[in-house]
Symmetry: C2
Subunit: 139 residues, 2 copies
DNA sequence: TTGTGTGCAAAATCTTTGCACTTCG
DNA sequence: CGAAGTGCAAAGATTTTGCACACAA
């Protein structure tokens, strides 16, 4: 499971330094139920590191994305939000009205992926699937 | 099938005026094999209406999207490109090594989507699916 | 101590808005 | 002719860069 400590540990192992601003961004992401723009991540992060700048948030989100701990969330008209990503397999379902984000697992694409693989000659290693719709309260 | 004339006709029926700049943007989109940023759409459109401005391209892309004749294309780090909706429902398969991109159609997620919908209470309206792997020459 | 990481300010992009002029219908 | 549409310039928003200073390791 994803926790501040496990992320910090991985960063450290990979040679990155553990700083107050980085911890603040990580915490902000983890406590976020939905997904947030960099600016919004910063607002949250400020609770843990009042001086954190937007630039650092951008850089940290980049880093976390590369490490697989955060993911850019794509919705129909916006791809500027980020959410914490469990390293394992999961997807996001986003409400287009209020932005509420739910993670779910257990997508079964295997047969479909086999077909695409056969048709294209690619070895498929990864897939990104995002769903968008209306949550129950926005319907 | 999508053609300049059929789009123009629909716009007209819906009460929009048929102008040179709009035709130019439509033609630019239709002849585009892939997808393009607004700036790039404008470059192409200039062949048909040299004076067309970026602002008009933005507004026209908006209009066409609303009408369902254009679609915003999402890739991992960019969701600012547009393509004619002509190309229908499709997804991208990208090689992580060399970046070669293939489009494919015919994903069948319906049963899966029903399940997620039941579990979450969301009405699912849209999905974004991207595959990543190794193309045949990179394997 | 040392070099990675940070914040600030400024630059570079990208997108939207206000407004007077054009032009379709 | 009248209102919708256009281009320009300017404003807004978002993201990146350069640089001197701070601070993990």
């Amino acid at each position: 499971m994803l926790s501040e400590e496990s992320i910090v540990q991985q960063l450290s192992i990979s040679g990155y330094r553990i700083t107050r601003p980085r911890r603040a961004v990580i915490r902000a992401l983890l406590e976020d139920e939905g997904y947030s723009s960099p600016a919004r991540v910063r607002e949250r992060a400020r609770r843990y590191c009042a001086s954190v700048g937007l630039v650092t948030v951008y850089r940290t989100l980049d880093l976390l994305s590369q490490m697989g701990f955060a993911r850019r969330i794509h919705t129909e008209n916006d791809c500027h939000g980020y959410a914490a990503a469990n390293h394992g397999h999961h997807h996001h379902l986003v409400c287009r009205q209020c932005g509420a984000t739910v993670e779910f697992k257990g997508c079964d694409l295997s047969r479909f992926l086999v077909r695409v693989s056969e048709e294209t000659g690619y070895v498929i290693e990864n897939h990104l699937l995002e769903l968008e719709g209306l949550c129950s309260s926005c319907q």
